[in-house]
C-alpha cells in the first residue's frame, strides 16, 4: 500500500501497477484494452484504452470502495476539508441529486433559490421533496439573479420550520456568492441541513482570496464539479459530506442511480486532478485570477461592455464575488449576450461558456494562453465596432418570480395534455423550459405559465438561445397539467 499523502494518487498508481502485470483480460470491457476496436484506439490513443478497465480486486469498486478508491476518496476529503468525499462519475448533476435525496424524503421541504440548475429540480421530481423557493436578489442594471438575501432565507425558515434542508449556489454561474457562513449558521440553528451546489466553486478550496467554500463554512454537503475549474474529465465530480451526515447512507443514495461500471478514466482523472490542486492549486488559481482581472480591465477599456467584479458587493445578495469568472454585460452595445456568444463562435472561432439575455460568460482556466485572451478581447472590440446598435427593445432581465402551484413531482407525474405553447397562458406546466446553457429553468414543472414567461421564452428563441426541456423538440408544444 502506498503512503497516504497528497503526493499520492492511489487509483492512478493501482492502474499503473495493473498495467505492468499484463493481466490477460477475460472480463469486460469487450474492446480488450483496445485490441478489439482499432478505430477507437486510433481516435483516443492506446494509453487511454489500456486503462479503460472494469472494477476488480486490485482496482477496487466504486459502489463499495475498500481499497484504492477508498484511499483516493480519503485524500480528496482531506484536500477539501471534508469528512468524506465521494467520487462521482455521473456528473455533478448526480452529486446534486444525491444531496437532495440524502437530505429529504418524499413530502419533506427543502428551501432553495429558484435560480438553481435543473439538476436540483430534477432531484425534486425523483424524490418528491417539496421546494420552498427563495427569490434571489436581482441586479436591475445587469438583469441577473444574484444570491439569496439573509433576510429572505430567515423568513423562509421561519415560515417553514419543518423544512429539512436548504440548498445554496456557491457561486452562481456568474460568480456571485450569498452569505454562506451566516446562512449555514442560521440553518443549523433551526436544525436544517445545508447543501451547497459548488458546481462552479471547486477552486474556492484552493485559491487565496477566493470566496468561502462550503466545507470551510461548516455546511453539511457540497457538490463540486472537478471537471470545471478542477481540470478533470467531463462528467467527473466530487460529493463532499461533513458533520453528522452518514457516509453509509449517502453511499446508498448515490448507488440508487449511479452506474455500477464506474469509468476508470473518470476516476483516475479525479485522482490526478485532486493531487494537482492539492499541490499546485494556490498558484494555479492565482494565475487564473490575474488573467481574469487583466481581461476584465481590457474589456472595460473597450467601452460599452461591462465586465463586472467585486464592485457589485453589497454585503447581502452579492456577499462575495469569484474573481476567476469573466462575466460581461453586453446590453449597452445593443446586443444580447447570446448574440455576442453566437458571433464569437460563428465569425471569430471563439467558443465561450454561454451567453444569455444580457450577459456572456467566458470560462478562464489554467489552460488559457495570453494570446488567446488577446483574441477574445480583440474580437469583442471588433464586435462592438461592427455590430453595436441602439439598445432599445432589448429584454433587460432574466429572472421571473415563479408562481408555484404543484410540487415538481406532482406536476411531472400528473395527467397532462399538450398545448401549443402560445395558448398555454394560465395553465400549469408539467415540463421544464430553459436555455442551455446555463440550464436554469425559466419554467419548471408545477409552475403557472404567464404572459411574461411566454414573451421571455419567445424573446430567448428569437435571440438564438438553445431552448430545451419540453418533450417537443421545437418547444412549440408544451405539456400542461390537465384541469379536472
Amino acid at each position: 500500500m502506498t503512503e497516504l499523502s497528497q503526493q499520492s494518487a492511489p487509483i492512478v498508481e493501482a492502474l499503473e501497477r495493473y498495467k505492468s502485470m499484463r493481466v490477460v483480460p477475460f472480463d469486460v470491457p469487450g474492446h480488450k484494452r483496445g485490441r478489439g476496436n482499432k478505430a477507437l484506439v486510433d481516435f483516443l490513443g492506446e494509453q487511454c484504452l489500456t486503462v479503460d478497465v472494469n472494477s476488480m480486486k486490485p482496482l477496487d469498486n466504486l459502489t463499495h470502495p475498500v481499497s484504492v478508491i477508498r484511499q483516493a476518496e480519503e485524500l480528496a476529503a482531506q484536500a477539501f476539508g471534508a469528512k468524506h468525499a465521494f467520487f462521482m462519475v455521473n456528473g455533478t448533476t448526480s452529486a446534486v441529486q444525491a444531496m437532495v435525496m440524502t437530505a429529504c424524503k418524499a413530502g419533506e421541504k427543502i428551501i432553495l433559490p429558484r435560480n438553481v440548475h435543473r439538476s436540483a429540480i430534477n432531484a425534486l421530481i425523483i424524490s418528491g421533496a417539496v421546494p420552498v423557493y427563495v427569490n434571489p436578489g436581482v441586479n436591475n442594471e445587469l438583469g441577473i439573479p444574484l444570491g439569496m438575501s439573509l433576510k429572505d432565507v430567515e423568513q423562509a425558515i421561519l415560515d417553514n420550520p419543518d423544512a429539512k434542508a436548504i440548498l445554496i449556489n456557491n457561486p452562481t454561474y456568474y460568480g456571485i456568492c450569498s452569505n454562506l457562513q451566516a446562512i449555514t449558521t442560521l440553518a443549523h440553528a433551526h436544525d436544517m441541513l445545508v447543501l451547497v451546489d459548488e458546481a462552479h466553486g471547486t477552486h474556492f478550496y484552493f485559491g487565496d482570496d477566493l470566496p468561502l467554500s462550503a466545507m470551510a463554512a461548516g455546511a453539511d454537503m457540497a457538490a463540486v464539479s472537478m471537471h470545471k475549474s478542477g481540470g478533470s474529465l467531463t462528467q467527473s465530480s466530487f460529493l463532499l459530506i461533513n458533520n453528522e451526515v452518514s457516509e453509509g447512507y449517502t453511499r446508498q443514495i448515490i448507488n440508487l442511480t449511479q452506474t455500477t461500471s464506474g469509468s476508470y478514466l473518470l476516476l483516475s482523472s479525479l485522482d490526478i486532478s485532486r493531487r494537482n490542486l492539492a499541490l499546485h492549486g494556490k498558484e494555479i488559481f492565482q494565475k487564473v485570477a490575474e488573467m481574469a482581472q487583466y481581461t476584465r480591465d481590457e474589456i472595460n477599456k473597450i467601452g460599452g461592455y461591462y465586465a463586472f467584479s467585486k464592485e457589485l458587493l453589497n454585503g447581502d445578495t452579492v456577499y462575495d464575488y469569484d474573481v476567476t469568472k469573466l462575466s460581461v454585460h453586453t446590453l449597452e452595445i445593443g446586443l444580447a449576450g447570446v448574440e455576442v456568444y453566437d458571433i464569437l463562435r460563428d465569425e471569430y472561432d471563439i467558443q465561450i461558456e454561454f451567453g444569455d439575455i444580457g450577459n456572456l460568460l467566458a470560462y478562464l482556466s489554467v489552460g488559457d494562453r495570453r494570446l488567446d485572451i488577446e483574441r477574445l478581447i480583440s474580437a469583442l472590440a471588433e464586435i462592438k465596432r461592427r455590430y453595436a446598435k441602439d439598445k432599445s427593445g432589448l429584454f433587460d432581465h432574466e429572472y421571473i418570480k415563479p408562481q408555484v402551484v404543484y410540487t415538481p413531482q406532482d406536476a411531472f407525474y400528473a395527467d397532462k395534455e399538450g398545448l401549443p405553447i402560445t395558448n398555454s397562458i394560465g395553465r400549469i406546466s408539467s415540463e421544464f423550459v430553459m436555455c442551455y446553457p446555463p440550464g436554469i429553468p425559466i419554467l419548471a414543472p408545477g409552475e403557472r405559465i404567464t404572459g411574461e414567461i411566454l414573451s421571455y421564452i419567445e424573446y430567448s428563441k428569437e435571440k438564438g438561445c438553445f431552448l430545451t426541456g419540453t418533450e417537443d423538440r421545437d418547444i412549440q408544444q408544451i405539456k400542461v397539467v390537465k384541469e379536472s
Partner: protein, 283 residues
C-alpha cells in the same frame, strides 16, 4: 564534421542546409531561437526550428513586402510593422526619406536582441530615429489604434505559435480600423503549394477580403521557404496596386534593390491558375 539543419516542410518533405557553426541557441518566453552559420545561405535564424530568415535570400522577401505598397502610394508617411523581429522590413522602409514614422511591434524582444547581435545585415536600421520599437502582442497593439496609419505590414511567423493571433478575423478587422481612409495592408500570406500552408493562406485571404474593398495577392520565389513559392496579400481601402503604380515616380527615387523593380511589381500579381482557384475557393 558533417552537420545539417533540417526543416520538415511537410511530413513527407525535408529541406536541409549544411551547418558550419551553431552560433546561438536560446529559449524566450515565446519560442526557441537559434542562429546557425550555414555553408550556402550565410547566417540562418530559426524560431522553433523553422526558417525565418537567411542572409542569402532575405532580400527577396523584404523587397517584396515593402516596395510593392510603397511604390503604390509614395506618400505613405506613417507605418505600422507587426512582427519583423529580424529588422529586414524596417531596413527597407528606412530607405524612403519621405517616411516619417515607423512603429514596429514585435512580441519577442529576444528575437530582436539576437538579430542585432548576430544578423546585423537585417537588423542594422532598427536604431533609425524614425523607428519606435514596441515589444508587445501585435493584436493588442492594433486594437487600441484608430485611423492612424498609411500602411500596415504584417511580417509574422507562421499561423501557429506566437503568430497565431495575427491570422484571425479580429486582427484584420482591427487593422482595418487602425488604417486611414486610404490605408494599405500587406500581409505575409504563406505558401499556396503544400496544404499545411495553403489552408491558412486561404483563410487569411478570405478574412481580409471581408474587410477591404480592394484585395490582390502577389508572389515571390524564396528558396528557403517551404516550396519556395510564397504569397503576399495586398489589401487597401483606396489604392489599386497596379492601376495606381507610378513607375516613373518610384524609379526616380533611385533606390537600389536587388529583387524588386517596377516591371516585376506588375508581374508579381499574375498568379498561376491553381493559386487563383484557391483564392476563389470558399474553402
Amino acid at each position: 564534421m558533417n552537420v545539417w539543419y533540417t526543416e520538415e516542410h511537410t511530413p513527407g518533405v525535408r529541406f536541409s542546409m549544411k551547418v558550419e557553426q551553431h552560433l546561438y541557441s536560446g529559449q524566450s518566453e515565446f519560442q526557441k531561437i537559434d542562429v546557425l552559420q550555414t555553408a550556402e545561405f550565410g547566417k540562418l535564424l530559426t524560431l522553433d526550428g523553422l526558417v525565418m530568415v537567411t542572409e542569402k535570400d532575405e532580400f527577396i522577401y523584404h523587397d517584396m513586402i515593402v516596395h510593392v505598397p510603397m511604390a503604390t502610394n509614395p506618400s505613405i508617411k506613417k507605418i505600422l510593422v507587426i512582427g519583423a523581429g529580424d529588422g529586414g522590413t524596417v531596413r527597407e522602409l528606412t530607405k524612403y526619406e519621405t517616411i516619417e514614422q515607423i512603429d514596429m511591434v514585435e512580441i519577442d524582444k529576444m528575437v530582436v536582441d539576437v538579430c542585432r547581435e548576430y544578423i546585423p545585415l537585417t537588423a542594422s536600421k532598427l536604431d533609425d530615429p524614425r523607428v519606435n520599437l514596441y515589444y508587445e502582442d501585435g493584436l493588442k497593439f492594433v486594437r487600441n489604434k484608430e485611423n492612424e496609419y498609411d500602411l500596415i505590414i504584417v511580417d509574422s511567423t507562421d499561423p501557429f505559435g506566437p503568430g497565431e493571433g495575427l491570422f484571425t478575423k479580429e486582427f484584420y478587422g482591427n487593422c482595418y480600423k487602425a488604417l486611414k481612409e486610404d490605408g494599405i495592408l500587406v500581409n505575409q500570406h504563406e505558401s499556396p503549394f503544400y496544404d499545411e500552408y495553403s489552408h491558412p493562406m486561404q483563410r487569411a485571404h478570405k478574412r481580409i477580403v471581408e474587410f477591404f474593398p480592394i484585395t490582390h495577392v502577389y508572389q515571390a520565389h524564396i528558396p528557403t521557404y517551404p516550396s519556395g513559392h510564397w504569397l503576399f496579400g495586398f489589401a487597401s481601402k483606396k489604392f489599386d496596386p497596379i492601376n495606381d503604380l507610378d513607375a516613373n515616380a518610384w524609379n526616380q527615387l533611385g533606390l537600389k534593390t536587388k529583387y524588386y523593380n517596377t516591371d516585376l511589381h506588375v508581374g508579381a500579381f499574375a498568379l498561376p491558375n491553381y493559386v487563383k482557384e484557391q483564392l476563389n475557393d470558399d474553402e
